[in-house]
Subunit: 707 residues, 2 copies
Amino acid sequence: MIEPIGNQYIVARPVYSANAFVEDHKKKLRYHKTFLDNLKVCCSCSTQKAKRIALSLFPIASWLPAYRIKEWLLSDIVSGISTGLVAVLQGLAFALLVSIPPSYGLYAAFFPVITYFFLGTSKHISVGPFPVLSMMVGAVVLRLVPTTSTMSLDIFNSSMSNDSSTDEYKVMVAATVTVLSGIIQLVMGVLQFGFVVIYLSESLISGFTTAAAIHVLVSQLKFILQLKVPAHTDPFSIFKTVIATGVSYGFDFKNRFNVAVVGKMQNGFQPPITPDIQIFQDTIGDSFGIAIVGFAVAFSVASVYSLKYDYPIDGNQELIALGVSNIFGGSFRGFAASTSLSRSGVQESTGGKTQIAGLLSAIIVLIVIVAIGFLLEPLQKSVLAALALGNLKGMLMQFTEIGRLWRKDKYDCLIWIMTFIFAIVLGLGLGLAASVAFQLLTIVFRTQFPKCSILANVGRSNIYKNKKDYSDMYEPEGVKIFRCPSPIYFANIQFFKQKLTDAVGFNPLRILRKRNKALKKIRKLQKKGLLQVTPKGFICTIDGFKDSEDELDSHQIEELDQPINLADLPFQIDWNADLPVNIVVPKISLHSLILDFSAVSFLDISSMRGLKKILQEFMRIKVDVYIVGTDDDFIDKLVQCEFFDDEVKDSIFFLTIHDAILQILMKDDSTSKFNSSQGKDAKFDFTINTNGGLRNRECQVPVETKF
Amino acid sequence: MIEPIGNQYIVARPVYSANAFVEDHKKKLRYHKTFLDNLKVCCSCSTQKAKRIALSLFPIASWLPAYRIKEWLLSDIVSGISTGLVAVLQGLAFALLVSIPPSYGLYAAFFPVITYFFLGTSKHISVGPFPVLSMMVGAVVLRLVPTTSTMSLDIFNSSMSNDSSTDEYKVMVAATVTVLSGIIQLVMGVLQFGFVVIYLSESLISGFTTAAAIHVLVSQLKFILQLKVPAHTDPFSIFKTVIATGVSYGFDFKNRFNVAVVGKMQNGFQPPITPDIQIFQDTIGDSFGIAIVGFAVAFSVASVYSLKYDYPIDGNQELIALGVSNIFGGSFRGFAASTSLSRSGVQESTGGKTQIAGLLSAIIVLIVIVAIGFLLEPLQKSVLAALALGNLKGMLMQFTEIGRLWRKDKYDCLIWIMTFIFAIVLGLGLGLAASVAFQLLTIVFRTQFPKCSILANVGRSNIYKNKKDYSDMYEPEGVKIFRCPSPIYFANIQFFKQKLTDAVGFNPLRILRKRNKALKKIRKLQKKGLLQVTPKGFICTIDGFKDSEDELDSHQIEELDQPINLADLPFQIDWNADLPVNIVVPKISLHSLILDFSAVSFLDISSMRGLKKILQEFMRIKVDVYIVGTDDDFIDKLVQCEFFDDEVKDSIFFLTIHDAILQILMKDDSTSKFNSSQGKDAKFDFTINTNGGLRNRECQVPVETKF
């Protein structure tokens, strides 16, 4: 029991290194699941599991038997009729975005709903055409089906003059792309790839939909203004269209009364088509984009309602449902379906309880297709275009996001801008892929340049904060506390090392080499009998010992990186004391280095090797290193990777910074080290003997003749 | 001053929330550099800066004047001659990898060294052909120049029969690719892209070079065995070659005495060529790969020596130097140069001190080119191939890495394997790009599924560890401590939420909705006068109050998510006490949730929104949330992003887990909350009145008729 004593934080316990702590507190032996265990669970098979999987493949088997006819049916009927009417108009409108005759939009609003009814897990979304998706299909159609007379602005004429072979080919392309993206969705669903949506962050979606809105806006303006402009088809073409709109505006506006109408509606259905394998090959990239965007939109809208009405949806099953719907819809000349936020809003707000409402909306569309389609024939295309545009205002308003994001988070702002640029310049399909890749890269960037800092004690208790942040800080002399606030891995281990070197103020390897060089010289002096060993250390009996800079060969330089070996010397050397004249080693006051790793969530193999090298370098110049704040797992991982040896031991781990600081202060020799580093009361020092004029020269000659 | 008291950790200080701490300890006002400031520094211009840049562009201007002729020249001459001889043989051998006549390898060993002498920053590397790089150029050559009779195995014949037009075109392709990759390197150097090498981790390099060794091995075997096999050119073709080797081995081996020799050596130089723009377009991807690999190899070898001899090298300048060298070398029919580890080893170990040794090695190559090349003409190609293979043993030994990495770090092992597969299947250029992308993705994966844990107190002091790890743990009742050991961002905020919900054992939003629903019913009862307010709370005067499950519309459901408003009620409701019959709300014992964010190094906008929603949901069901262990920067960032409002306040931040625990224990009402959560001594409870048979029915009817 912990008893609070007033508003006081009072603690008295032993100082704990990680090892000492485990001695005091028995650690439970836990069995950690291995990779093989997980694989077994994953692949295990039982009747129950098979049943559960079968049931999850047909969600209708769960919800239809529980349908409350009395309470829900009326709402579903009302909702179904309203949604159906919206679906008819949206279907006609969005078909324009695909650049195919409007009547095909009705197929897109009918077929997918039927399959989704059986396979879908969301009760509230209205499956069918979605502007951005229609636009993406349209971009493919216009790339693969060049308008009859290329380079002229007559795409609109061609559809007016009922150039049926071109139209038929366009429908073919749209349907094929739809089938292919359906196949992709189905495969992803079966492979349990529903998690991909988590890679679409808010900033990315905002930037992407804004770019899509721009694409849609540009392509729709030509219908509203009755301009004859080819829709943009490939990367960079959006600029052409923009320009063309400006050029054409003046002289084409006069023709505005020669308006285009929906035209002949096909009564009833048409036979299913066989997708063209050649088109598959040409559109695989776009189809991926369409598959992902279609799923992402449907899933995010479904998530909103699943959260609101508190029922589960299953991403993988949604992928399967949408995939089958698109294969089915595409085979019957529809185009890619997802959901439109506005239509789902209608379905939900008018009281839709289940997909029965969706089914009824499909029946309304069916009635229009087979019976009363002719009533819509005089509808002006410009009205439909305006309808499509109505959806876009909100999306375009998202431009204000840029400023808001810039103030809040530069990386998110960058994601928005880059996504927008990618989607505009590379087109929606490829742009999405590039954006996701860029976005994942920002996660690497964020961790790659951590804001490392030097900590010091605030308030003389156990609190350590950034030294730059507070005025009354205490930093024990000869101790540095260095904090790295991010994982360390191959891409930032060099950065980490650089920051650490900056923080301590010297390069440990360089110090080690200088000391080893000095040691060589001292050995040489000793061999020549120029050093007298005294109880206090040793005395150099010559004055002004001069040694030329030896040219070391490759092997000798490697020796300089080895630990300093004083075993064969009859005296100790204090590197911070004055050494004999002309033997200069930089003095360092650091004797202990504490690395705060509480935010280092992982190390990889590259960084481990780098870290070990850094630790060795410090230890070889007698700087004690303490690592604090790590998880137990962290140490286990290092043990597993054979990180520790005779030099770098696992005793360097302490629970907290304060434990390490107390340990340092407790160490007797650390105190003496601290004293000697100040040059006072040094235990050993060099006494300079001033009588060695001649011997000095004697000593100098042989050294020089060596070269 | 902190005084250590024996081996004891003794602390007495106030309990600190982040706010209380800042009140006690004045924080310094620090000016944080803005984006604009950094831009200014970056773009500022001064004479000194210009001078420094100019000097860094020509490193020779710094080191040549400081050249110590007496001490270094002899070593450099010895080293230069040895390196030159190695360079001649390697040049001839590696030209086979490029599938061009061996004599062109001498150009590759000569021209780049000359420019590197002026522009390079490394003193020890020997610039020139490198097997992997030669192989990469060779792959491009064989893709663009199909052997004369396609599908037959006569490439070797064609080069024997001196089909000079094909050879010339091959040399042209190799030279063009070299120039293009030189241009890419130069541009990258000017744009300061030298940092790209940090993205090549050890595991990646190991996997990549092993794959390259396999490629080289397969392509060389045909020379050693004198087989007539086309070298593999495109993705997947490596398998064909393997197979072909097996098939051809038997019957071709007999012809082995009809051996191929180096053949006619061109005496002197040939005129420079103009690269073909068409080839530029076809090889831009490969050239990128060649540029990156060439630079990465040269830079990593240079780094080894710069560290050993302790002098600085400059990545961007190295890029510029290699870029110019390749443009120069390519223009004179050489192929891509980098450095070979073995040749640099020769240069360094034989005493090379500066690039003077490199220059001398180039002169040796020059002598062979212009004067004594004919001596090498009878050299067997199989000898050269064996020379090239000698380099590969070490690389192939790297297969043992897989097992080692698997034991140490699964992700690193995965990087190795995927890099190997990518480089084998996609070819070296594209494979490298795919590997780097995959590798960066692993960084995302590592942070995406953090090992969240529940902590509890060990040893009754201020130490909190994973509850599963130790046996004698103390967890105050009604308190959960949840630790997330990684940054939180768009891709793992849902995962974080799921883990948190699992940890506390309930979904706070669902509890909130149930309470709000119950409140509606209690209000209804009160309106009907069926509740009597007593000093102890309220008494329900009916028995068995029954309410049908109301069907709520869309708007009413949204209301359920709002905070519970008890202001208009004349009594308090204790949700953990027994409520009137048929009003059931799940009881929760949790009253305080501590989130240990000490390893959460950043949040992005998406995760902030998600986190805020989670905090709100908990706060609305009266669970106090504490966030501990964050940096000061973290809170500043949240303030900047307008994270805080009336509901989620910045007072939730505490310095450590222990501060938060003490704060919780101190709170008077928390104690009472704890009591009431046990159902004992509840302050308010519902007394059931058993006399309401008739009124009960009266109450029930109107409720039912509503539907």
